[in-house]
């Protein structure tokens, strides 16, 4: 037991001496409302990016999750777990693609080689929308319902932190904050300006107006 505890203490001391700390971020909008699904990332290119296989699911005619962050060069798979067919597409500059009508897990993964925001949708079910945000760093996080996110294991140094959100008004660079990390966890508050943007209507209005 003593040996085990000693090991943990050593590990903590090592971590602190290496300067790997956590950066806790809170994001609110211009009305001081907490913002879920904000992408917070360190604006510093990481050379050895992990090219993950990321999954964006489709269930009950919705994309899950609504916002996904991937590292540049990652592949995203779009399994369709509805027992119907979807047709996923994007017209975004960072990646334009179309997965023709398919069901199940038959689609080829899409590789995202350019940084930036990619808005995607389903051509059959117009209310189905979601976002992929491509970064060239391995230090990023997505805010939860309380608007909080933690970027873990940030080495000591001076960084620029950026925030992106589907409703962000203006350029992502306008959100930049400089931060110095030195052996201690840090809290950072972001206030971003959101534009008026709504999800397409899905709920039924009448049996006679089917809508899609």
């Amino acid at each position: 037991m003593k040996i085990k505890n000693s090991f943990y203490y050593c590990a903590i001391i090592f971590c602190c001496s290496a300067g790997a700390v956590n950066l806790q971020v809170t994001v609110v909008n211009q009305k001081q409302q907490v913002i879920e699904n904000a992408v917070i990332y360190i604006n510093k290119t990481t050379t050895d990016l992990i090219k993950d296989m990321v999954i964006v699911d489709q269930l009950d005619k919705e994309f899950i999750p609504y916002v996904t962050v991937v590292q540049k060069g990652s592949a995203v798979n779009f399994p369709n777990n509805d027992e119907i067919r979807h047709q996923v597409y994007s017209f975004s500059k960072a990646k334009q693609f179309e997965i023709p009508l398919y069901s199940g897990n038959t689609s080829e993964p899409i590789i995202f080689n350019n940084t930036g925001a990619i808005a995607m949708a389903c051509n059959i079910h117009d209310w189905m929308t979601a976002y992929i945000y491509v970064v060239d760093t391995d230090k990023f996080a997505i805010s939860d319902k309380s608007g909080k996110a933690i970027i873990e294991n940030v080495p000591n140094g001076n960084y620029e932190i950026l925030v992106w959100h589907p409703k962000l008004k203006g350029n992502v660079e306008t959100t930049a904050q400089q931060v110095s990390i030195l052996n201690q966890d840090k809290n950072l508050d972001f206030k971003i300006t959101q534009k008026s943007m709504m999800k397409a209507w899905r709920a039924p209005r009448s049996v006679k107006r089917r809508g899609y």
Partner: protein, 295 residues
Amino acid sequence: MNKTILHSFIVTFFTLNVHAQNGEWVEWIADAQLSYNQIDNINLSAFSNDQENDNKISLMASFGRFYQLNGTSRLHIVATIAKARFDDFDSMNNTELGLSLGFRHKFGLGYYKPYLQVSLGYIDKEFSTSSWDRSSYDGYLEFGQHFTQKLSASISYSYTKIDGNPWMTVLPEISSEVFDQSYWNSDVVIDYLLHNDWLISASYGYRDGDLTSACTPGNVAKVLTKNTVNAITTDDVFGGCVYQISGKTHTFSTSLNYAISGHSGLSFSYEYLKGDAGTLNYNSRNIQVSYNYRY
């Protein structure tokens, strides 16, 4: 004639199924609506001293399925059953069975691409007073588009033909088939998203063709002396006579819709109808609250 069109459509419908290379049956359709209506001038009388008001509660359910032809086109087949009960005029309580076959095409890939929808429908409606029973056939064409994230609009055109039950002849020189009607209708609908959960709609409808109106015996002479009616007979439901006349109506409506979830919502709507036929003018109002569910 109408049955022939319906049969042709069914044949086309299934032929399209067979020839669609990647076609597949997809979503099931299971919709339901519970609604409460407060209707002013339910008998569509042109005379204020004849006008009757009533409340109606109705339950409607639809079952069917979509057939996806490709990424931009789909067919639907839907059966509908509905039941309506009135507070005062319970002889108007009715049960409705319907069938609709439709085709929808979206002109390309993307949210802002317009769509075209064509459908044919058949409805059999049986009332507590069997003389009101009728069958209706309609052809429907709709063209619509999203213009912005918040704003969308559609324009539609429909033609309806109704076959009613034979009625007792009261004037030998005039038909008594008051519910044998035909008319065409055109609607413009604008939808605007107020919030993620709130949608407001406004619509205008123009209808040209036969309409049926009821009046008490005291007003029949006013109808017949200055106007040409297509059909007339006595009426058990409103206790006077019912007549059919050719006319035009303008319907203005607005609705506010609240999304409870992606599968259910509440709608509050108000509709005002203004019509004229010969020297006669008609007005009616309808307020509806409904709960809508979609599987």
